[in-house]
């Protein structure tokens, strides 16, 4: 019996909530290859519990790939190979026998382009709940209402829960996706440029929601928008493309990154000279 198995047996998913928030997600010398292509290499980075971490950098430096390691979406890519260490408390996230269903329930993800399922608004939230064993209508209803209220969508959609989610506006769709992640009551949220496909007003709303999550969720947000990172993040990680794929060139408190950057590339980048 491995330590992992013991861990999963003793710990009830619900009970883990408070405990896990106190823990850190820590990557050590994490690298990702797609066949011979290197996405990023040797990244060491900790996501502080209840903190918002912004990941910034030019396109193609492995920011999104890094997020995909955290909820093991890399498993979907046949040639992807992750090396190094990635742990969440005493949970080894790279363990080959890891229960990814359980991991992904605790780690929600929002993608750049809103991707609500082509189902009704209600079903978009009820379907993931049912898949994770929450099939009682009363509990579903309570959780769905809560999640929709949390993203400020409840009042807008409560009268048309059974109409198609695809009929919502882009901003509403993105907030629905956020609610879809929240309805599973995750502890961590990964956001891959969640505002870049939205208009400024919708973008601002999502940003406010993210800000409201500080302290309650551990958030990692990839963004191209430096001002956004500055507004939101407790700590900021700067990725950069080098000859052999992406690298983490600087990591620090957001104020430090923007006011006293150490790395010359970061200095140019935050001044808007590069990237």
């Amino acid at each position: 019996m491995t330590a992992l198995d013991t861990y999963s047996q003793t710990e009830h998913p619900e009970a883990s909530h408070t405990q896990a928030v106190a823990e850190l997600i820590q990557a050590d010398s994490l690298s990702l290859h797609y066949g011979k292509t290197i996405a990023f290499s040797e990244v060491s980075l900790g996501l502080g519990a209840g903190e918002i971490t912004a990941i910034v950098g030019p396109s193609g430096c492995g920011k999104s790939s890094f997020l995909m390691c955290l909820n093991r979406l890399t498993d979907l890519v046949p040639e992807a190979e992750v090396t190094g260490r990635l742990s969440w408390g005493n949970w080894d996230l790279l363990h080959p026998k890891l229960d990814t269903t359980r991991l992904r329930r605790r780690v929600g993800m929002i993608l750049q382009k809103p991707n609500p399922f082509p189902l009704s608004i209600w079903k978009n939230l009820a379907f993931p709940l049912a898949e994770h064993g929450i099939k009682q209508r009363a509990e579903q209803q309570q959780r769905i209402e809560l999640a929709l209220q949390e993203v400020g969508l409840w009042d807008e959609v409560k009268d048309r829960l059974r109409s198609s989610a695809l009929q919502l506006s882009g901003g509403q769709q993105q907030r629905l996706c956020l609610a879809r992640a929240l309805v599973l009551q995750p502890e961590v949220l990964l956001m891959d440029e969640p505002c870049s496909a939205l208009d400024p007003i919708s973008s601002r709303r999502v940003e406010e929601l993210v800000l409201g999550m500080r302290g309650r969720y551990t958030v990692a947000i990839v963004t191209h928008n430096l001002a956004q990172a500055k507004r939101l993040a407790d700590q900021t990680a700067v990725f950069w493309t080098e000859t052999a794929g992406g690298k983490l060139i600087e990591l620090g408190a957001t104020t430090q990154i923007f006011e006293a950057p150490q790395h010359p590339l970061t200095q140019d980048y935050v001044r808007g000279l590069q990237g």
Partner: protein
Amino acid sequence: MTHPFQSLFLNSTRRNLLLGMGFSLLLTACSSGSSADQKLTLTGSSTVAPLIGEIAKRYEAENPGIRIDVQTGGSSRGLADASQGLADIGMISRGLKAEEEGEFQGFVIAKDGIGLIVHGDNPVQAISDQQVVDIYKGEVDAWQAVGGNNAPITVVNKAEGRSTLELFLKYFELENSEVQADVVIGDNQQGIKTVAGNPNALGYVSIGAAEYDIAQGSPIKLLPVDKIAATTETVQDGSFPLSRPLTLVVTEPPMGLTQDFINFAQSEQVHDIVRAQNFVPVSSSLAQTQSEATAN
């Protein structure tokens, strides 16, 4: 106030219902099964099939509980299916050949004359057998050579495997490889349409079918063969040389239902059906001997 989730539930039920409907329909269709006490299957010539289909319907009406299934696909399939036992009776639009006499027994139920047809505007009134041979071999390719207009002849031939073709080739002692056809057609109707639409065409089709279409105003005319006019009368009295018997074939001496149906198909009771299908009735006493005569 109706609960929004209630109608959601109904919706998914309705979808399942729709999917299930197809299967349940299929199951119902399967379970009802066959109700006929006795069944007879006939396959073969597409020329004979419509006629036998009508005869079968009358027979079924007179004999409740009996079902007669008529299939089609050509004379050769009629022989093959009868031989393999897939059909109780085969249908062929010719007499039995000498080499087939050993395996099959034939019963003529009607006759069909094959007539040469040309367009109604064609001034040619008759062509000799030798001229037909020359035209089909491509040695004569203009109407003026046989007393017609100064125009090329469009030779219309039947597709391989059709018994009309076999009969035609046999009578004129032609090989199909010798025939220089401009148009190859499959069925009577197609042949009639081809000739009706081409003033310079020469073709051959069932006399019954041609007479019907002429009566309906189709611009074609039948040419005599060996100086004998192509009419249902000359086919019936046996004087028209280019005719074929429509024959039912069986592999074993018919008994029971098979025998009863063959007798019915040869009887006076179906002569009106035979005429209605543009064929020529034969009297049942002559039927078997005529089948043998044609084969020789």
